[in-house]
Symmetry: C2
């Protein structure tokens, strides 16, 4: 039986299915989850050539009228302009779309975030299904209903909460990833380990090599190991999101490593650092801040750093612009009345949100990355 | 006591207040409804010079840090490009906005729809307050949570459901309207009369002259009459919206006159016909269709036409492109699987949604407008 994790959100509940049958099974799943007769697949120019035809064929076999819209690959295209172009394509569609039309996001985190946002605003709300093809999207961005795009002022500043009708994960699609892209997802796995699943840090430690085996674009991980990793991480995210859909409370724990991480990413430029690398630096910096406050045992911070290193994620970065990063933190959409709020670890699996963060603490934490 | 109508939507409930004190009272109301410390007023280039300073002063007196962002006036600017420009302004704001920041829509239907949509997507959702300054916005667009913008493929095709935290109506702002603009609102009042409040058709008949008294930009209506009209119409809309927030059922009744009306508006061009004029034509055409089906007494259809005429709204329009209008109806976001769905009146105060509308029926109905 395919591993399935239920995301429990009342009327908006849905399944995440890790499917050994691969993308060939997505058509029947979309039919089962939505009853759609018309699906528009949205994918980027990297992923579409690899997987779009298989998805379209699977949809057609399920008696679903299906088309493909593509957009330029890369975080730099995660913009309102891309959304606008996709809406143009969608609204010019023949036969015309209607409120029963379902969108299918095929690709990584950007494809999911952009497609979800297009679905949120087209005709004031269409349903959509996620078919993630990166580890980052599998373990993080495809689950939870956050959609949106970046803005020069910061990441994900424009968007909506819009839950998918289902998530279809094919671990085999991960084999075509560059390892640097795989590590974007591994950074989120470390985050999940720190906030909710201490034992997963051991799992990552043990399997660090296997998970990254092979060469760029021809990864050789053991499918069972990857499936277990994904299922475990989706379960962490499902537990958090089910308790707090719209980020009033515990959902903020998912921001661990991301508050400083996002600011670093924006400050140095989305094109020069990968999201997972920024998150790894954010985790190290936020743990350093927690250690400096006396909240966290320095040995635990060191252990997290060691696992990040084994996963070939960065734990240092010289020449960060601390002033700029502080300014960006104050602009973060989770700031309140100009106060910076950061989730800090007290132990593995135990974190809390702190809203009394001072500029000096952040600057000292950034220095620890130098 | 100010007439207040409660829009009952559970956790998203809010008040519509018709305030004799005028816009000078909006600051305390925003404080009461939201507790905001920071408000950004969004208004268009027609309305801002008239009323923005008064609103900013009132907010400042309530100890709220307030700024103004303006955008070009007119339905032709109700676009994603305008939304994008406003988001740029909002996200560059100093001190930075955060999730407690409240937007205030000051202006007509376009200002409300655009501001509501900006609020829906900025930081994945800010609260907003409506301060409508047209009759159309007072009786219709400011209540119900529909936000969004137009697209070349049709009106309101991009948007979100996002309820305001309150609506503050100052009838005195209506005096500066051109009468043609006032009639945009009167067309919606006729719609409300047909779908839910037969006696309001008599009220409109009786007060048709008083409501339009004066000259363009110096309207001389009796404030009590206008207040009663608005309160009555908001009550109709509140009743419908409270039963069906997201248009699964009875909310579709609010589309009476609008399905064909929107298609006419798109076909002839937003710049050559006013929304209320298109709605008036839509009401006449949809009633003609209902009469042709034997659903509606022709005398009732005639009576509605007479009241529209008394309100100086059009009931005929030659040279409509029936093919184009049918095509637009099939693209309408309320269409289902290519089937056109139209709300038809069976009697005053009694309407139903029909989904078996044939192209010939629409063409005959449009011919009745010739």
């Amino acid at each position: 039986m395919d591993p399935t994790i239920r995301i429990d959100l009342g009327r908006r509940s849905y399944d995440v299915r890790i499917a050994p049958a691969g993308l060939a099974g997505v058509g029947p799943a979309v039919k089962e989850w939505t009853g759609a007769r018309q699906v528009v697949v949205l994918s980027d120019t990297n992923v579409a050539p690899l997987y779009a035809q298989g998805v379209l064929d699977s949809l057609a076999e399920a008696n679903i009228e299906a088309r493909l819209l593509t957009f330029p690959a890369g975080e730099s295209h995660k913009t309102l302009a891309t959304v606008s172009g996709l809406l143009d394509g969608l609204l010019a569609h023949e036969p015309p779309i209607d409120r029963k039309t379902v969108l299918l996001a095929l690709g990584g985190g950007v494809a999911g975030d952009v497609t979800g946002f297009v679905a949120a605003v087209a005709l004031r709300g269409l349903r959509f299904v996620q078919a993630p093809t990166t580890l980052l999207a599998d373990v993080d961005s495809s689950v939870g209903g956050k959609t949106g795009v970046d803005h020069p002022a910061g990441k994900n500043l424009i968007g909506a909460f819009h839950q998918p009708s289902g998530v279809w994960i094919d671990v085999e699609t991960l084999r075509t990833l560059p390892r640097r892209e795989l590590r974007n997802g591994l950074a989120e796995c470390v985050k999940h380990a720190v906030i909710r699943d201490a034992a997963m840090l051991d799992f990552l430690d043990t399997h660090a090599e296997d998970l990254q085996a092979g060469t760029d674009g021809a990864l050789a991980f053991e499918a069972g190991t990857m499936t277990e990793l994904i299922a475990r991480n989706v379960a962490v995210k499902a537990r958090v999101v089910s308790r707090d859909e719209r980020e009033a409370g515990v959902r903020s724990h998912l921001n661990f490593g991301h508050t400083i991480g996002h600011a670093i990413e924006t400050s140095v430029g989305y094109d020069t650092i990968r999201h997972g690398e920024a998150v790894a630096l954010g985790i190290v910096a936020e743990n350093a801040l927690a250690v400096a406050r006396g909240l966290l045992d320095p040995n635990v911070a060191q252990r997290v750093k060691t696992v990040l290193s084994k996963l070939a994620l960065p734990t240092t970065r010289p020449n960060l612009d601390a002033e700029d990063i502080w300014r960006l933190l104050r602009h973060d959409k989770k700031a309140r009345d100009g106060r910076v709020r950061i989730v800090l670890a007290k132990a593995l699996g135990n974190v809390d949100l702190y809203d009394d963060i001072h500029t000096d603490e952040v600057k000292n934490a950034l220095e620890s990355l130098a």
